[in-house]
């Protein structure tokens, strides 16, 4: 019997209406660009003396779900992944063009994920939440969504999902690409930025009480960070970080904040926009290069408290919700 090829695998996902409520249909089907998701199993070892020097036996401490699947970002489904990671979405528009505004909420949805590996292994992961969601792209590269997932329980199916839960067709459109980016700092377009990495951290906790299956997955502090590579051509942003303003010459004791937006557009009605209303740079390293290459600054920034939230995402596509 032949082995199972590793590249024949898919991921399906659907939000739940509550804890313990399994979905009646999958929302999307993705293919892995990297990463994985699976059942997790914590073990520990008994520690007691014996009549000999043999180490103690093992026992199970926790059974749960964990993983970090990575998928390409397509406008037809990224609004759902973002809703899993941020919590709230407002859907508007009319057929065939729709718009989805995704923002942070106090509660995240529970999500059921499923993984099919070849025609051999089918696993369903219930009561999951997205701990960390990173959307990133390097220069000229497709956008990738990497979701760190924590969940309560897994079950293996004897066969692939059927009828209502039959996996939908995966999107075939090309992923969004950094070459489609329009970047603005403080509302002004800049063409000096060559990469993008936005990380949404929900700092989840698994609560375990009297069973190996965790009782719940609970949201913690929300944090949003942004990273990008900036061609060091002007002193403007550097001065803002260190010297309090574009023309500053004295080190500032204040945090300088600015707004930023990254829009990736495959057309008027097919795009993904991230808006960061208030960012503070946290790292702005200008490094000499003995090799003589042009200086590129790997900027790191953190979203600051603002009436419009840490980050808002707007997705335009042909999907109603």
């Amino acid at each position: 019997m032949a082995g199972v090829p590793g590249n024949r695998a898919y991921l399906v996902a659907a939000k739940q209406t509550g804890k313990g409520v399994e979905p009646i249909a999958w929302q999307d089907k993705y293919f892995f660009e990297g990463g994985n998701i699976g059942p997790s199993r914590g073990t520990d070892q008994l520690s007691e003396t014996d009549d000999n020097r043999n180490a103690g036996d093992f026992y199970v401490t926790q059974t749960a779900v964990e993983g970090s699947p990575e998928v390409y970002v397509r406008d037809s489904s990224i609004h759902r992944f973002l809703e899993y990671g941020l919590g709230a979405a407002v859907h508007s528009g009319t057929e065939p063009n729709f718009e989805h505004k995704i923002s942070a909420a106090a509660s995240l949805p529970y999500v059921t994920f499923g993984k099919g590996q070849g025609a051999l292994l089918f696993e369903q992961f219930n009561d999951c939440k997205v701990d960390e969601l990173t959307i990133s792209a390097g220069t000229a590269a497709p956008l990738v969504a990497s979701a760190s997932i924590m969940g309560r329980s897994a079950k293996r199916l004897a066969a692939e999902w059927a009828t209502g839960l039959a996996p939908p067709a995966a999107a075939t459109a090309a992923p969004l690409n950094y070459n489609q980016a329009l970047v603005k700092l403080a509302g002004i377009e800049t063409r000096l930025i060559s990469s993008f990495e936005c990380t949404i951290s929900n700092n989840l906790s698994l609560q375990q009480t009297d069973d190996s299956v965790p009782l719940d997955v609970v949201e913690g502090t929300l944090a949003v960070t942004l990273g990008f590579d900036l061609i060091f051509e002007t002193l403007a942003e550097y001065n803002k970080f260190h010297y309090g303003g574009e023309a500053g010459t004295t080190q500032s004791s204040s945090i300088f904040t600015t707004a930023a937006s990254f829009e990736f557009s495959a057309g008027v009605n097919n795009s993904l926009l991230f808006e960061f209303p208030k960012l503070a740079y946290t790292e702005f390293p200008v490094e000499p290069d003995p090799g003589g290459g042009p200086v590129v600054v790997s900027v790191r920034a953190a979203a600051q408290r603002h009436s419009e939230g840490f980050v808002k995402a707007v997705v335009k596509n042909q999907v109603e919700k």
Binding site: K15, Q16, T17, G18, K19, G20, V21, E83, G87, A88, A89, V90, H91, S92, G93, F98, K101, S103, A105, A106, S107, L108, P109, Y110, V111, R152, S153, K155, D210, D211, V213, E308, E320, K321
Partner: protein, 125 residues
């Protein structure tokens, strides 16, 4: 509310502890561990809800609790989409609220708070 176990009870396996409680207070124990005859039959479409005959009561209770939602508060807050907002559906905590079909809706207070947090929904005074 379940009674706090005595020190002796704590040393007992949970399954035995439930039996002791059943002897001491049959009425109270009946609420904790319903008999098989009182339990609703498992739906045919959910075979995972079936319980093995040798499964102890504690395990069975945990399995049942895993699919029980927190009781919802009374639906006492009326919300609507703000004037000028073009909204079809608002999704919060995994639930879709269709404001295109129902421009104003009554929801629980916690849900209303989540909907208002999106910035496009307001509470009707």
């Amino acid at each position: 509310m379940a009674e706090t176990p005595t020190p002796d009870q704590r040393r007992q396996p949970r399954s035995e502890r439930a039996e002791v409680q059943a002897e001491a207070a049959p009425e109270a124990a009946a609420q904790v561990a319903p008999t098989a005859a009182e339990e609703p039959a498992a739906p045919e479409t959910a075979p995972e809800a079936q319980v093995d005959v040798d499964e102890n009561e504690v395990t069975k209770r945990k399995r049942e609790n895993a699919s029980i939602d927190v009781p919802e508060l009374p639906e006492d807050t009326k919300v609507r989409v703000k004037d000028g907002e073009d909204v079809n559906v608002v999704s919060v905590a995994g639930v879709d609220y269709d404001f295109k079909t129902n421009p104003s809706q009554e929801v629980t207070a916690p849900v209303a708070a989540l909907l208002v947090e999106t910035g496009v929904v307001e509470v009707v005074e």
